[in-house]
């Protein structure tokens, strides 16, 4: 029972991370209709920036969090300007390849800037590393921080979309971009906002995770694929779906690792997503899109 609870807890924590990446993906997709393949690299790059700020420059944690989120936001806006805006009207293939290109540039940049030192950077723990017991469940405080942080971000964003004007404008743009323009919504600003926000979420995820894991330039892609899988599980257009998807991926991964074999952990989300896509090509929580001709 202890093992199960530990595995689930651990799965939920990584799941929370995947959920945040998925959230970023869904935010961008909801507003623009495309998947930003650079999302994982936003995560990685912001993580490195956070390392630089906190470890190298001694900036305190909360401020690092804020600054990293700002950097992330900036990266997102830049990506919108460079890789999305100019080709917004073209086909899926081109858009995806453009964001893949950006992803690679960021990865290379990170390697050039920080890779000179050890390829793996470690972040000092923020909270104590001693596990504590909550009821029957064993947890590490940082895990709780990650969870709390994730919950906070999800709550903030749901509120943002439901309650603020900007959020509602994003929804409108997502539903019908042309109508949104007619109503006077500056859709290009919305796109930039969406990219920036998505990236900021990834940055936040990175700073939350950094104390728990090692940072290295290639980390972005692995997280991206899992985040993408989580977003698809949740239906690609649904914020709560993304969170649910992330948790599912995290828990499946953890359980597979614990009960089957540790090496299976890496690959289990991929197998799951392949199976899900075969059985339900439109994801678990979405409704069937009718082909309109």
């Amino acid at each position: 029972m202890l093992l199960l609870s530990y595995l689930v807890m651990s799965g939920v924590t990584t799941g929370a991370l995947y959920a945040l990446i998925a959230l970023g993906i869904v935010v961008v997709n909801k507003a623009t209709g495309i998947i930003n393949f650079a999302q994982g690299e936003f995560f990685m790059f912001s993580g490195f920036v956070a390392w630089m700020l906190h470890v190298q420059m001694g900036v305190n944690y909360p401020l690092t969090f804020l600054l990293a989120a700002v950097v992330g936001f900036g990266l997102g806006c830049l990506t919108d300007r460079i890789a999305f805006r100019p080709i917004a009207k073209t086909d899926v293939v081109s858009l995806v390849l453009a964001t893949v290109g950006i992803a690679f540039m960021l990865k290379g940049l990170a390697r050039v800037i920080w890779g000179g030192k050890a390829d793996y950077l470690s972040f000092p723990p923020i909270t104590s590393t001693d596990p504590m017991m909550i009821g029957n469940v064993m947890v590490i405080p940082q895990q709780l921080a990650v969870l709390a942080g994730t919950v906070a971000i999800v709550v903030i964003f749901t509120a943002f979309f439901r309650l603020t004007r900007a959020g509602k404008m994003m929804q409108a743009t997502a539903d019908n971009a042309r109508a949104a323009t007619l109503v006077g919504i500056r859709t290009d600003r919305i796109y930039t906002l969406a990219f920036g926000t998505g990236a900021a979420i990834a940055a936040a995820a990175a700073v939350l995770t950094a104390p728990l894991t090692l940072l290295y330039p290639d980390i972005g892609f692995a997280f991206f694929v899992k985040g993408f899988a989580a977003a698809v599980l949740g239906g690609l257009m649904s914020l709560p779906g993304a969170v649910l998807g992330g948790l599912i991926v995290g828990v499946v991964e953890s359980l597979a690792g614990g009960y089957i074999h540790s090496s299976v952990m890496e690959v289990s989300p991929f197998v799951v997503i392949m199976i899900v896509l075969v059985l339900r090509p439109t994801g678990l929580l979405s409704f069937n899109k009718i082909r309109r001709v």
Binding site: F287, N288, I290, R291, V293
Partner: protein, 263 residues
Amino acid sequence: MSATLLSVRDVHITFGGVRVLEGIDLDASRGEIRGLIGPNGAGKTTLLNIICGIHRPQKGDVLLDGISIVGRKPSEIARLGLGRTFQASQMFGGMTVLENLIIGLHRRTSSGLLSAGLKLKRHRREEAEMEEAARRALAFVGMSELAERPATALSFGQQRVVEIARTLIGDPMIVLLDEPAVGLSANRLTELDGLLRRIRDQKGVTLILIEHAIRLVMDICDQVTVLSSGRRIADGTPLAIRNDRGVIEAYLGKDLRARHQAS
């Protein structure tokens, strides 16, 4: 060989809880031009989608030349002899006009991976035949000079005509046309009128045509079916339809019908 080529029987379809079509019956005879009209949202395009296999009705059947085609893949139904054009332009942008026509012959030819890759004799012969047939078809619609232009370089009206030619070149028994006249100028409309007649007269193809241009429908259709809110409210000759109360009501609403009758 029965006179009825296409038979739609008691078709019902629901999308996400909304009843889009209920109890639709329609029979089209060989060589007939049948109009399908009705206010927006009546379900006309959905009906065409069902006939050509894009949607599957919850209830009912569709028979093409006596064979039930419900549940078959659209490409299969196309190969059985049904053609279709769409409201939005569906020209293949990566090809020239001529190539767009040649692809219309796809279902009548058969060279495959190896035959094409190895440039075997059969493949070469087929290619030559297809090119000739495509040029003839282009001439039939009077656009020979556009053969080598990229498909995207054509005007909207020209694209529509080429798409019709592309559907016809495969020698279908029946063609479904979804608003072929939309966006056409008066001149082009007259041309389309003539083209559709020639298609029916010279090739004996049955046409089912969704149209809002009532003048066109009255002019060339032999029979007209009227849909409104998912139901069939009238079926008959253009003249009969014009005077049908239900139809007038559907288009104009009850008050206006009274005024129309009074006038």
